[in-house]
Amino acid sequence: MDPSEADSALILSKCEDLAAQLVVRLARIDHRTFPSPATSAAADILSTLLQRLQETIPTYKSNFAVLYTQLARTAKLVSEIEESAASWIPLPLVANCDSSWKNLFRSVEESVRPRVFYTVTEHHNFSLEDFNAELGHLFEPLLTAEEIDKSFLGGKIWHLKLPKFEGSNIPLFANVSHEYGHAVFKANERMVQELIDETFGSFLTGLEKELARELEGTAIHKFISDTLKDFCGELFDDAIATFLVGPAFLVALSEMEWGADADAWHVSLQSREQTHPSVAFRVDVITRESGVVTFQTELNTTLKAIVPDVNDSIGSVLSALPGHEQNKVQFVVSPSRHVRRADVSRVLTKHRVVIQHGCRAFAKLCYQKIPKVIVDLDKPSKGGDVAQLVRRIRLGLPPNIFPTGHYLGKPAGLGAILTASALYRRALLSRNLKAPEGEPLVPLPEALARVDRLTLKALEVSYVQSRFYKAFPEHSTHVST
């Protein structure tokens, strides 16, 4: 039932008041507390659109309930931006993440290079959203698409949400690199689609013929095609993450999925962001394609030599991750009441071997193609170097320096620091790690807090040191590779 004219006038007044309040709230945020300049840009764009909306509200004639609902959703976004102050999001982490982001898009001209800003969320998940599209959903049809696009000045902004709950669990933020993969996927969608066609093209052609005789076969074929694209998208993002942060991503990925069924491939027929291969399969693919075996061998060899008392507990972290078995695969299709759920599940299960092989072949192509497309990736961390950082954590030092024989050392990179910290933290959680000789046993929460403090310090100082040596290379005592 439509609201009466009197009620509509009341709703309209309330909307006007709400829009005004949101503009004031955005204006009151101290931009110096934002973790990155992109957050400031996002806040300014949102404020511009709200002010434009304020001007149009008095003449608004359409569905006022929609207007109010959209404003309520916008209020939620304003709250997220208010809470994205640096006290919640560690600056050293953001500085390193921003640096990785710039490397991913270095070939793009700076004026049109996509930017990313960070907010915290109550959800226990990392997610990357297209902020241009996000504002489009909030303000259309209240404003025109042209007005909304104009506020972005031709730029592209991504919105990365970080779980508030895990604020001090620094190694978990390796998952940020997977989210960055979504942006890279979008920027290289044509190339990725070619890889998907190369891998699954003939399978999908055959499937189309197979389903042609079925009722709604075309719809089922479309769902399967989208699902395969989403599986491939996740594997592509995993590959980007592995190139950015190395084995730290493996540990972070498995931690985010604790408690879930490691063999379940999730397929959502409503929300495509929720479709992904199983954790076990993803870990298996990364392990085979990204040199983790070599890394682990080097890690264990060096640990045995320099910190023999932690060798087993740290060296076993990667090998204890979920293992994949082909015949244990099951597809979990949701929502349970979707009209196509049973058909999609049937087809996926029937062709599960082909699907797994195809995904594996696609991943292999990704690991070959990505270094050619993104040319400024750092070299992957070596197991021996990470072992040196593990020793530093063991000695109560920040894992910020690789030893070079000179006391200045060489600053460690983001991936190496996160990997060393992730391995040490996981070993602590497993309660297999004894206290260093001569030191009292520290309770687990304090030991974890210590590792997180040291990791954050390492991220800060190694980033500063790297920047310093770029500005003053004469002070560096190592050769940058």
Binding site: R32, A86, S87, P90, L91, I306, R391, L395, G396, L397, P398, N400, I401, G405, H406, Y407, L408, G409, P411, G438, E439, P440, V442, E446, R450, R453, L454, L456, K457, E460, V461, S462, V464, Q465, F468, Y469, F472, H475, T477
Partner: protein, 263 residues
């Protein structure tokens, strides 16, 4: 006790990590930070600014207040690099060193201002001593003693460490029960500016002994009245003196004002 020279500092910084003589000051950005007998250290990005609150005084003997102090008395700020913080005249804030320091069991350390900054009126440390076996970033008490505001930026080399060898052998541990190397002291591997920490677990119990003895301090029973306290109570209630030793018809104002502890 002798001051470590540049050669000795470098020797210790390049010693084997397993060596008890190993010294860490990390990261150093340039060789020139090591002087003839000191190491220049830089300002880090973490600062703590005291807040103006309803609290009438810092009372380190009040356990409950101390444990709540961090949120009510101090504000933590993380300064981005290349951003300015202005320290106003007579203002005191807590900063931290950019470098992380580990001192061996036979090395004692003092942190002092570099002379250029001292001449501007900046004092970087009022608590200058770093004990052997310390592990962490050093909290700096930054005070502007001049009449002009001073602009500070993270990364600036504002202080210097002077290291001195003690009479202890680095490889031997002190026979005292709680002195081990490295020390797990009051501040465990701090990496940010740290506010005062009274009453960490199991420590500083004596502070309460020296403080005012009232029910509001969370004691189970009020202390037995002292002669002075009892006199004041009786006077308020209009009761006669009892003739207890030390009692006078008028309260001793000097004793009252000074809060002389009970005998």
């Amino acid at each position: 006790m002798s001051v470590l020279s540049r050669a000795e500092i470098i020797r210790r910084m390049q010693a084997d990590p397993a060596s008890p003589e190993r010294l860490y000051v990390t990261p150093l950005l340039m060789d020139a930070q090591i002087g003839p007998a000191s190491i220049d250290v830089r300002l880090g990005s973490s600062i703590i600014v005291p807040k103006k609150t309803y609290v009438d005084s810092h009372d380190p003997t009040d356990r409950k207040a101390v444990l709540q102090a961090e949120s009510s008395l101090y504000e933590r700020i993380r300064l981005p690099y290349n951003s300015k913080f202005v320290l106003h005249p007579n203002e005191v804030i807590l900063g931290v060193t950019f470098e992380y320091v580990v001192t061996p069991a036979d090395v004692f350390c003092m942190i002092v201002s570099r002379s250029s900054w001292g001449r501007m009126g900046l004092v970087i440390a009022t608590a200058t001593i770093v004990q052997p076996g310390f592990r962490g970033c050093l909290t700096l008490e930054l005070t502007n003693m001049s009449d002009s505001p001073i602009a500070l930026y993270p990364g600036l080399p504002v202080g210097q460490l002077v290291l001195m060898k003690t009479s202890t052998d680095a490889s031997k541990r002190d026979s005292s029960s709680d002195l081990t190397y490295p020390r797990v002291g009051r501040y465990d591997c701090p990496t940010e500016a740290e506010p005062p920490r009274f009453f960490p677990s199991g420590k500083d119990n004596e502070l309460e002994f020296w403080g005012a003895q009232t029910e509001s301090k969370g004691q189970d029973k009020p202390m037995a009245p002292t002669p002075e306290l009892d006199l004041r109570r009786r006077k308020r209630r209009g009761r006669p003196n009892t003739g207890l030793a030390g009692e006078t018809s008028e309260p001793d104002r000097k004793t009252e004002a000074s809060g002389t502890p009970p005998s």
